[in-house]
Amino acid sequence: MPLITYREAIKQALDEEIQRDENVCIMGEEVAQYNGAYKVTEGLWAKHGDKRLIDTPISEAAFSGLAIGASMLGIRPVIEMMFMSFSYVAIDQLFNNGSFCRYMSGGLMNVPIVVRGPANGGTSVGATHSHTPENMVANHPGLKVVCPSNAYDAKGLMKAAIRDNDPVFVMENTLLYGEKWEVPDEEYIVELGVANILKEGTDLTIVSHGRCAMLSLQAAKTLEEKHGISAEVVDLRSIRPLDEETILNSVRKTHRALLVEENKPFCGVDAQISHIIQLKAFDDLDAPIRRVSAIDAPNFYSKELEDWQLPNEERIIEGALKAMA
């Protein structure tokens, strides 16, 4: 299987979907002629032209709303947020119109848009550029959100998101764009709502998503080698819909859970997952559920401190040892 980058995998998904469906178009700041701020769309404008690759002015509210309006008439826009943090100026469009138009019309319409872009910290760009709003998206019934942790999932989930008839947010990660994974040449889809067990284990379940799932996998290997702890790593892939069964089955097997995410702890994704575990697998737990989240403050600029603020291997191992205590 070819080894390709996370960036290339997303581009392949966009390219294939543009060719598959004439209603799919890509819209966003610098996506066409500039080839994308993070080069995710590189070459697509040259290949597909102005109709399918559309450069927008810096008007997230207007182009998000425009995409939603167009989707009501059957267009399937994929809008790029240069940073997912910038979607905050378009929250009314995305969270009100994107998620509630269907509901408030009693199901008379649907909004098949994709909102994609990097949602991560760890790059020394300061707090305003480092948001991970998958929890906020998931808090809005009507919206869906996925967080691919690797190139294979990024491609498969992107294709599923584009074909989905509801609004889907795809949370990417700038720190993963250049990383490589095996991705098959043949076409495939990664369905929404199906988690992936990255590593099997018997002593502890680590539930994670996005780049943190990869860090958790790394930590699990160290836990095994240095501490003799067999950790199972569940990569959620999709936040809403959520694969509860895979989480619960794992916890029922290991009896301990550590939840790892880059989100801030208060009402983070893991707050909900923790609730689900205690509600549905209470008797299976041998210890309190533990969490490793971003340390609860706006993101630090300085690299050394931000690297400590976000979940990292050391902090995950520390959390795992507490969960095993």
Binding site: Q93, N96, N97, S105
Partner: protein
């Protein structure tokens, strides 16, 4: 008269007194007798429907807000009468007039306000959220100016698909000060999208007069900043609305160009029925003067009586029909059931609603 034109033209602050009989303008002259009577019927229908809904609200039958369109009827009636097959329409929360004008039934609208399952949105939207996509009507939106980019999106889709049509995006004089609207003006002009923005300038946003909310009182002038054509007209004469809007709509359809139309109109009632103070921020005389000289219902009636389209007798008959229809809709709404509780979690996700084979993976709803 239609204060006009484009860009650099110096424009009077207020539209001047009526100089022209718009009923004889070509677009109106071409109307058949039946079409003219239909316009009258639409305006009467909106008026009587809303009067009935006001009674229902006061009886406690309608919850939430009730923003009445009374006084502004000729704007929606006139513009909707110009819509063609591929034209679309979207507006804010003062949406009853547009809904009835596109042909939604009084029953489904009244039932929606009563929160009933038989309402156009099954009781999930209420007064501010009427929708009829089958009639190219995309709502009914409660966040001020939030619908304006959606309107541009409808027009974008038309152009993308190579369809000849336009989108009519309505907003209020207060909504022009939202960033989303200004961003949308730029986008529409930059991309040559066939959308016509219609500012229904009724002089007030809630209790704030235009003077107190907009630095430049000629709202249409904002189009200049975006290299967009604009025009201003009065909204009490349905024939004037038709003549001026027609130009904008033709331009949008033919040239794929956006247009900003400011229509000067007036609402008789408070911002919403809950706005009991509306005679404090404006005078009784102001309201009475408008009603006496510019009532859209009287104006159209006089036109049609004077050109022989309408007789007093027929006018009375139509009026009674609409009163009866409104009364019947209140009865229909009253007698309709509310939705079953199982409806709370339908219409959230298209994929869930259409998953008859149970193929979907994962949990979609998170109740204990």
């Amino acid at each position: 008269m239609a204060t006009t034109k484009k860009k650099t033209a110096a424009v009077a602050k207020k539209p001047k007194a009526k100089l022209k009989n718009f009923a004889t303008a070509p677009i109106n002259k071409s109307l058949s007798k039946d079409e003219k009577i239909d316009l009258y019927r639409t305006i009467v229908g909106i008026r009587r429907f809303e009067e009935r809904s006001l009674r229902a609200y006061n009886q406690g039958k309608i919850g939430g807000f009730l923003h009445l369109y009374i006084g502004q009827e000729a704007v929606a009636a006139g513009i909707v009468s110009l819509m063609e097959e591929n034209d679309h329409i979207i507006t804010a929360y003062r949406d009853h007039g547009h809904a009835l004008a596109v042909g939604m039934s009084m029953n489904e609208c009244m039932a929606e306000m009563y929160g009933k399952h038989t309402g156009c949105s099954k009781g999930k939207g209420g007064s501010m959220h009427f929708f009829a996509p089958d009639k190219n009507y995309w709502g009914g939106h409660g966040i001020v100016a939030g619908q304006t980019p959606l309107g541009a999106g409808l027009a974008f889709a038309l152009k993308y698909k190579g369809l000849k049509g336009c989108a009519m995006a309505f907003l209020g004089d207060g909504a022009v000060n939202q960033g989303s609207f200004m961003e949308t003006l730029n986008l529409a002009s930059l991309w040559n999208i066939p959308v016509v923005f219609v500012i229904e300038n009724n002089g007030y946003s809630m209790g704030t007069s235009l003077k107190r909310s907009s630095a430049e009182e000629n709202l249409a002038h904002r189009a200049d900043g975006f290299d967009m054509e604009w025009e201003v007209c009065n909204g009490h004469d349905v024939f004037e609305v038709r003549e001026v809007a027609n130009r904008a709509m033709i331009r949008a359809r033919e040239e794929h160009k956006p247009f900003l139309l400011e229509i000067r109109t007036y609402r008789y009632r408070g911002h919403s029925v809950a706005d009991a103070n509306h005679e404090k921020y404006r005078t009784k005389e102001e309201i009475e003067e408008y009603k006496r000289t510019k009532d859209p219902l009287n104006v159209v009636k006089e036109h049609l009586l004077s050109d022989g389209t309408l007789t007093e007798e027929l006018a009375k008959k139509i009026d009674q029909e609409k009163k009866d229809e409104a009364e019947a809709s209140a009865k229909f709404a009253d007698e309709s059931p509310v939705a079953p509780r199982s409806e709370i979690q339908t219409d959230v996700y298209w994929e869930v609603d259409n998953d008859s084979e149970g193929k979907l993976k994962g949990t979609y709803f998170f109740n204990d």
